[in-house]
Subunit: 136 residues, 2 copies
């Protein structure tokens, strides 16, 4: 489950965190794991609130994707979260996240420069960027 949270048509909220398997700090879109019996959109709503402290007024599934279909069954649903209302960051105690707000153009630029190297985030940012370019 991943979320592209947009504050407005051109501002995205990202999270920066140390990723043990990668051995480095990564800048990503918020993401989390479905709890047993939880619906994907309920999970997305919960994760947006837990990770960045916003409640989404509008939640739309953008796309789903297989991360490593050669060896993993994992399929990731990615939602667009809009009409965000500030609540409070209600984070799991084992999570240390820095919240980073950038324009969509800057996020795309950070893909080009290699500052964003997480596959789900690259997909989400590029698709959101296309969506809003087409709407302009």
């Amino acid at each position: 489950m991943a979320i592209v949270p947009l504050l407005d048509h051109n501002t995205i909220v990202l999270v920066r965190q140390f990723r043990q398997p990668a051995g480095r700090v990564l800048l990503e879109i918020p993401a989390g794991t479905l709890e047993k019996g939880e619906e994907p959109d309920d999970c997305a709503r919960r994760e947006v609130e837990e990770e960045i402290g916003y409640a989404p007024g509008l939640l739309t599934e953008m796309f789903h994707s297989y991360l490593a279909p050669g060896y993993s069954t994992e399929m990731l649903h990615t939602f667009l979260a809009e009409d965000l209302r500030k609540t409070e960051v209600n984070r799991d105690t084992d999570e240390f996240l820095e919240i980073v707000t950038v324009s969509l153009e800057d996020a795309v630029r950070m893909i080009d420069t290699g500052e964003i190297v997480d596959a789900k985030s690259i997909c989400g940012i590029l698709l959101a960027s296309r969506l809003y370019k087409e709407c302009k």
Copy 2:
């Protein structure tokens, strides 16, 4: 290791194959695994030839990405392969691939319609599409 093989500035070669973990047939960019001691660009060259039967004249690393940095160390290098010269498909006997040639615009459309749902392919196609749009 993944490859975006372009026949010209607007034509991409994809592979369609049954993916056991996903339990379905997926349309993807060609990809493979580094052999012991192999350099990433040598692997990319070998995989393009093995999977789609072309030798790339020009090979450029486009980006690298973590597929699942929350639990996996895997980092995927993705190359742009251009100036393709037809050789013969020299496939591992356990691979059953169908080669599919489409325009970059159609590949992007297939992401929008959910016909392409593999994360590395979504990243590679959208980045190649931006690259060539900007050059036009």
